[in-house]
Amino acid sequence: MDPFSSPAPSNGSSGPSTEALMDQVKAQLAQAYAEEFLETVRSKCFSKCITKPGTGLSGSESSCISRCVERYIEATRIIGQALFNSPRKSSSRLHVTLGFDERLLLGLTDCSGCPLPTAIASR
């Protein structure tokens, strides 16, 4: 099914069920996030690790790239913690900047709902 077609209605109503729509939105957001994240990692690691492109990837280039991917995922985690898990001072800065509902902010602290690199790293 392409991303823009609707699933068949399951209960005789005239449109897709709300839940199916919500699932579709979540899946598309997760995919868009993953693609953007991967593009960023490609860009960073190419500039760090491939200084003089040769006729193939050398062993050191390959291991540099592996380490780079791990480090970038770790950096994302560190930034997330710096903004959400550190002392109240930082969280309240965030609250002021984004006008967040505090409950939503707290719900995001463990990021169970958001498509963070933990999902990517576990593939």
Binding site: V25, T40, K44, C64, I78, R93, F100
Partner: protein, 74 residues
């Protein structure tokens, strides 16, 4: 009709989550460049991880300062 309210709430929440993810992504992008100057190792040095933490928090401080300055100009 309650579908519509539920959908509204859901979309608003997803929008917030997406904004947060985008912000974390943007800050990680910028702070990686500032803090990870050499070739990536098998773990971060403590100065690298401290730099990342500081960088994220200073970026937020700056963001607030900019908003305040901007608002005071209206």
């Amino acid at each position: 009709m309650e579908n519509s309210a539920e959908l509204q709430r859901f979309l608003e929440e997803e929008k917030q989550k997406a904004m947060v993810s985008e912000m974390v992504g943007k800050i990680t992008n910028v702070c990686w460049d500032k803090c990870i100057t050499g070739t990536p190792g098998s773990k971060f040095s403590s100065s690298e991880s401290t730099c990342l933490t500081n960088c994220a928090q200073r970026y937020m401080d700056m963001s607030i300062l900019i908003m305040k300055r901007f608002q005071s100009m209206q």
